[in-house]
């Protein structure tokens, strides 16, 4: 059975046994049967035998390992591991429009989410769209994005806004999508949100982006061009291994650098941090 989904206006299809969909709860807000144009299709299978490939490189983060490689036919492969145990694979077609997701066991949702994010990232990389590593809140019709390395306190900072600044709501806590349409950057909720179950199908114009850094004080400053560009590049889940992907991501980063204010916040995990931050960035949105 097939179901259609839309995230930030980009459609895709998941093809799987019906029992799989009943457990894809986080994708339900994004189901969209009216859509005709889809960018990619993911077919979900229970794995029978391992995928054979040559490793190109690997990323390790908090017990999760993602290995990127290639089959003998030149198809891109991702292997997903948790605590060094193989949980599944994604095998992409040459044009990245089709992907076969193989799951070995109980952690199939971990495999599916990573595979879907990967396919989404690759296929949208030349469409002024980027999947971010960020926690996002909304306030008075605009969204504010918090960036930083794992463990910096992005989620904590969002929670401080929610607690102390009236009207603030969480949009997404880990993997929002930013898309530029007619020169305006908007941030969209997604079916991926890390450990926080916040899968909202909402979107707002981006009012500001803030890079967080832990410090024994609260202080905010506006970033200059190059620093802003690098900050964006480090927070975008971009794959730059083909020229069209690198060119596309660069275009997105460049347009964001030019249109959205970026800030650097040195902060404590306290009420004053949220106040210092919000006071500076709200109503400072036009360069």
């Amino acid at each position: 059975m097939r179901k259609h989904y839309t995230v930030a206006g980009h459609g895709f299809i998941v093809d799987a046994e019906s029992s799989v969909f009943t457990r894809m709860v986080q994708y339900q807000p994004f189901q969209d049967d009216s859509i005709d144009n889809t960018l990619f299709t993911a077919r979900v299978h229970e794995s029978v035998s391992p995928v054979i490939y040559t490793e190109n490189y690997r990323q390790e983060d908090e017990g999760q390992t993602i290995i990127c490689g290639e089959t003998s036919d030149g198809n891109t492969v991702f292997e997903y591991q948790l605590e060094n145990k193989i949980e599944g694979w994604l095998v992409c077609s040459h044009d990245y429009k089709e992907g076969d997701v193989y799951c070995t066991g109980h952690q199939w949702l971990f495999v599916l989410n990573n595979a879907m994010m990967m396919m989404y990232t690759v296929i949208t990389s030349d469409r002024l769209t980027a999947l971010f590593h960020s926690s996002v809140v909304s306030l008075k019709g605009r969204a504010y994005m918090f960036l930083g390395k794992s463990g910096t306190g992005k989620s904590t900072h969002s929670q401080l806004w929610i607690k102390h600044i009236e009207g603030t709501e969480l949009v997404n806590d880990d993997n929002p999508v930013v898309r530029i349409i007619d020169g305006v950057a908007r941030v969209y909720g997604s079916p991926w949100s890390g450990k926080t179950p916040c899968y909202r199908n909402v979107d707002y114009p981006v009012g500001g982006i803030v890079k967080l850094k832990q410090a024994p004080f609260n202080e905010i400053r506006r970033m200059k061009t190059i620093e802003a560009y690098v900050t964006l590049a480090m927070s975008i889940s971009g794959m730059r291994w083909k020229k069209w992907m690198g060119d596309g991501i660069h275009e997105t980063e460049n347009q964001l650098t030019a249109t959205v204010p970026l800030w650097h916040l040195s902060c404590l995990p306290d009420q004053e941090a949220a106040e210092v931050c919000s006071k500076a960035i709200i109503n400072q949105e036009i360069k």
Binding site: N56, Y57, I226, Y229, R240, W241, G246, H250, N254
Partner: protein
Amino acid sequence: MRQKKGLVLRDVCGEKVIIGEGLEAIDFGRLLCLNETAAWLWQRASEIGDFTIEDLAEALYEEYEVSKEKAIQDVTTIVDKWKSADIITE
């Protein structure tokens, strides 16, 4: 000399920078800002492939109105910077 693989010259809101992209440079760890002349020379070097200081000086001499001595001098300074930034190989 040759440019290292996986490096791309980009225009970031009007500023010329070299960044690592592609499989050979998956770690987006560094970014190098270039002035107009250096960016222009980087482009030439990329077209030539296996380039020498003389190749670039010749190109600079033809494009810009500088003396041959000045061209050699400028190119040497810039190429030395590339060497110390480890973005070219001998």
